[in-house]
């Protein structure tokens, strides 16, 4: 009996001390580690609104969550070797995670090395062939293409001829959008005459579009699959004054794209939420590092913008980046 009381008291004492530990060390254990992240986009800031907005989203999330984010960007999207080189350099720096938007689907030879060093690889916007991807934060590119295709099908003559200006060969983003576009077109998919690749430059897109117009005089629709290809195509139409017979549909917004829409050259643009993508890329990476990922694929969303809804406050908020001191 005496012993029983004593053991009971001992148990209570032990429990109490455990409680003390939890109370005093608990909050200390929760303190956030300072992660080091490196983001390698396809192209540096300022080249187009999409990447500018995406990178600013990533930076803002990093600031908000108190992590270090270094952006190592190639000068142009077609500088595939430069991106490769940057990835190698990033691996050498041994960050906690590398976020990358691969320009081509071919996997980096340094991927395995990065994994061996315990560096988490997160794909943002685009993916490379990877046997075991950990996290992908991107627009659902099939959905982007599908929305574009469905709208096109709704406004296009059933006999109308369609051409696609894509950004890059062997790019996961481009391939998925093209596939989605054809799905969205439905029966009209048979009318797709040709797919050309502009290597993500406005000039080449414009040049190729003009060639397409010569090749197919009765062309009715040109679809651009990213900012460079769609704006490039729209410029060609504007230059030729062909907006009345050829409609342009495209992907990704920019100030120029919006002005081209106001002018009636773009019939629709599917807008990716690039800021959100960058922001979520960082946030989800932090979650992954904390060991509580939300899933393999995180969709940052997209919206169909037409001349009719482009002044909606909701769409405005998506299209135009907010800058405080501008």
């Amino acid at each position: 009996m005496k012993k029983k009381v004593f053991t009971l008291l001992m148990i209570l004492l032990v429990l109490a001390s455990a409680g003390l530990l939890v109370f005093f060390l608990g909050p200390a254990m929760k303190t956030k580690e300072s992660w080091h992240l490196i983001y390698i986009p396809k192209s540096k800031e300022g080249t187009n609104d999409f990447w500018t907005s995406l990178i600013s989203g990533a930076r803002m999330a990093a600031e908000e969550y108190g992590v270090t984010l270094d952006v190592m960007a190639p000068d142009k999207e077609q500088n595939v070797e430069q991106q490769e080189q940057l990835f190698r350099e990033a691996v050498e720096l041994r960050p906690d995670a590398i976020l990358i938007s691969p320009s081509v689907s071919t996997p980096s030879p340094y991927l395995e090395e990065a994994r061996q060093r315990g560096i988490h690889i997160v794909y943002v916007d685009a993916v490379a062939e990877d046997p075991a991807p950990e996290l992908i934060v991107s627009t659902d590119n099939l959905e982007v293409g599908r929305k574009l295709g469905e709208y096109t099908a709704s406004v296009c003559d059933p006999e109308g001829k369609i051409a696609i200006v894509s950004q890059m060969r062997n790019s996961s983003t481009a391939e998925e959008r093209e596939q989605g576009f054809r799905e969205g077109l439905g029966a009209l998919a048979e009318n797709v005459m040709e797919v050309v690749y502009c290597d993500s430059t406005f000039e080449k897109a414009t040049r190729l579009t003009k060639k397409l117009m010569e090749k197919y005089p009765d062309l009715t629709v040109i679809a651009g699959l990213n900012e460079d290809s769609s704006v490039g195509a729209a410029r060609a139409i504007r230059d030729e004054g062909a907006e009345d017979r050829i409609m342009v549909v495209g992907v990704d917004s920019s100030l120029e794209a919006m002005e081209l829409m106001e002018q009636g050259i773009f019939r629709c643009i599917v807008v990716q939420e690039s800021f959100k993508m960058g922001y979520l890329g960082v946030v989800e990476t932090i979650r992954l590092l904390q060991g509580k990922p939300q899933g393999l694929f995180v969709d940052s969303g997209c919206e169909l913008v037409t001349k009719e809804n482009m002044f909606d406050p909701r769409i405005e908020k998506l299209i135009f980046p907010f800058e405080e001191g501008a």
Binding site: L20, E324, A326
Partner: protein
């Protein structure tokens, strides 16, 4: 009864008193500690809340005032422009004189240079006359002014200013900035004084953001502004809000009657402090994380909780010790009582507990037990004495009749001049007398007892002449054994008077002593007439005292043996009429007093 006892033992006999004391003290102490902790913890939160509400309330009202005066100031500028002759001339004048344009453009440039918070400043009229920022700035030809609220509302509102929420200004080519537009209708003084144009200022967020951010309301606290419709005017994380990456509970703010409300739950709980402006129609909201707000009080609460836990543990310990110290002597006393009850008086010796009531109780118990033990020992001694005296009484003197008869026989023998017989008989009688008189020891050796029997038999043989013959035999090992006195003689006497005496022919008596296993056996066998069952049945009867015997009957012998050695020992008779009788005395052969 026994079952209850064992049950009690199992559950702890002093369980109830001990747990009662423990429960009462521990309960009281724990309750007090918990109540204290609860009150202080609760009041801490409330205090933290009230302090924070008051503090952020002040700041928010201050921000609100600053924004009001900022907007008034800006309105003054638009008002000045709207009424300036240069602006009138540019917008409504028909003269081709470019001087007004240039002068107004310069004025705009001066303002823009001195105020970095103004993005655009300008005047515009729907028919196409306009001047924005500089003389040559081109407007967006695709924009329909009628779709722009800052333009249409300024025309409609007679004289007052119009303030937009955050919106994208699409007026200029190649620019789509997020701004807040402050506009004011312009009267056409040359053409009748009707409102026919708009002067406006596009404000970027630098001043408002500065006002909001410099008035920080604590760690992770921030200030934001919403308009009458609940649209965001300014928020430090406007882009995140636009991208729906974060939300504010606008609905709760719009419907709030108080100056401070708490929204959300758990970790995301926020305290909104609200100030509304009648000038702008905007609402300035201060947001504070409740978790941050309560961080300090949480820390103190944690400390309090720890103290409480320590107090509770201490209370339990102290109560346990207290209950133990009170009940332990009681428990010991109870255990010792139980053992005393079972006859173990040594258990009554308890360690002295000084002072307390239980101490005196223990002492009394010890004294009482000692007294009982003394009394019991005394009683035992007295019983022993009584038994001894009883024995003494039973082994009484030689029957006087026997003595007279013997003396008569001696006299007759002496008269017949039978000297040798006289000598033998007298010496036998003398030995008999000496042995019966020496009364000091209760016990005698078997040898001595046999010799006594021999003396007695010798006398009787002489009295009965040839009618009696006898023999006394013994194993040598039994001779030194000690037994109680005078057990053989009464049985021999019985054998003579009831066996041999009535026999026609001469009788024989055999006395034999031997050891059988751990028993000492004394046999008295006669070949007399024997006894029928009726006689045998009454042989141990008390009243059966023969006047001719020496007065110590078979009953007495049996009684004495049983008194001294126990019920399992004694005399057993075997007899058959006409064949003789055997009396068999069984005594212990292995007892200490026997072997001595």
């Amino acid at each position: 009864m026994r079952r209850n006892k064992s049950l009690n033992r199992f559950f702890g006999r002093f369980n109830s008193i001990r747990t009662e004391i423990f429960g009462a003290t521990a309960g009281l102490l724990v309750l007090a500690a918990l109540a204290l902790a609860a009150v202080s913890i609760y009041s801490m939160d409330t205090t933290a809340f009230e302090t924070s509400e008051e503090f952020s309330g002040k700041i928010i009202r201050q921000v609100n005032q600053s924004i009001d005066s900022y907007i008034s100031y800006m309105d003054n500028i638009t008002s000045m422009i709207a009424n300036s002759t240069d602006a009138q001339a540019v917008l409504f004048g028909s003269s081709a004189d470019n001087g007004f344009r240039v002068r107004l453009g310069e004025q705009f440039q001066t303002i823009l240079k001195s105020r970095s918070d103004i993005r655009n400043i300008g005047i515009i009229r729907e028919d196409g006359n306009y001047l924005i920022n500089v003389a040559v700035k081109r407007v967006n030809p695709y924009l329909d002014l009628d779709t722009q609220s800052w333009y249409t509302e300024a025309l409609e509102r007679n004289g007052g200013f119009v303030l937009t929420s955050s919106h994208v200004q699409a007026l200029l080519r190649g620019e789509r900035p997020w701004v807040i537009t402050l506009s004011r209708g312009m009267r056409n003084y040359t053409g009748g004084g009707g409102i026919d144009g708009v002067a406006f200022i596009d404000l970027n967020y630098s001043v408002i953001s500065e006002l909001c951010e410099q008035n920080s309301i604590g760690k992770r606290g921030y200030v934001f502004v919403i308009d009458e419709e609940g649209e965001i005017v300014y928020h430090p994380q406007q882009q995140q809000l636009f991208s729906e990456l974060r939300t504010e509970n606008i609905e709760a703010i719009m419907s709030a009657d108080e100056d401070a409300i708490v929204v959300g739950e758990g970790d995301t709980q926020k305290l909104y402090t609200i100030a509304r402006s009648s000038l702008t129609g905007w609402t300035v909201v201060g947001s504070t994380d409740v978790s941050v707000l309560l961080q300090n009080s949480r820390r103190s609460q944690r400390f309090f909780l720890v103290i409480t836990i320590v107090l509770v543990v201490l209370a339990l310990l102290v109560s346990g010790i207290l209950a133990g110290s009170i009940t332990r002597p009681l428990q010991r006393l109870q255990e010792s009582m139980a053992r005393v009850q079972e006859g173990d008086f040594a258990a009554a010796e308890l360690p002295a507990v000084s002072g307390t009531e239980i101490g005196s109780l223990t002492e009394s118990f010890t004294v009482m037990t000692n007294r009982i033990q003394e009394l019991m020992e005394q009683n035992q001694r007295e019983q022993e004495e009584k038994r001894k005296s009883e024995l003494r009484a039973l082994q009484s003197q030689i029957n006087p009749h026997f003595l007279y008869n013997t003396l008569d026989s001696i006299i007759w023998m002496a008269e017949g001049k039978k000297h040798e017989e006289v000598v033998l008989m007298t010496s036998s009688l003398a030995r008999l007398l000496r042995q019966s008189i020496t009364n000091e020891d209760e016990l005698v050796t078997v040898e001595s007892e046999l010799s006594y029997a021999w003396s007695y038999l010798t006398i009787q043989q002489m009295r009965y002449k040839d009618k009696l013959s006898f023999s006394v035999e013994a194993d040598p090992e039994v001779l030194p054994m000690r037994i109680i006195r005078l057990i053989l003689q009464p049985l021999i006497e019985n054998a003579i008077y009831h066996g041999i005496k009535y026999k026609e022919s001469p009788g024989q008596i055999l006395v034999r002593a031997y050891k059988e296993e751990d028993q000492l056996i004394l046999l008295i066998r006669d070949d007399g007439v024997g006894m029928d069952e009726e006689v045998l049945k009454h042989i141990f009867d008390r009243h059966k005292v023969n006047y001719q015997s020496n007065g110590v009957g078979v009953y007495n012998v049996q009684q004495r043996i049983r008194l001294y050695y126990g019920q399992e020992y004694g005399i057993r008779y075997e007899s058959r009429p006409g064949e003789g009788t055997t009396a068999r005395i069984t005594l212990p052969a292995d007892r200490e007093e026997v072997l001595q």
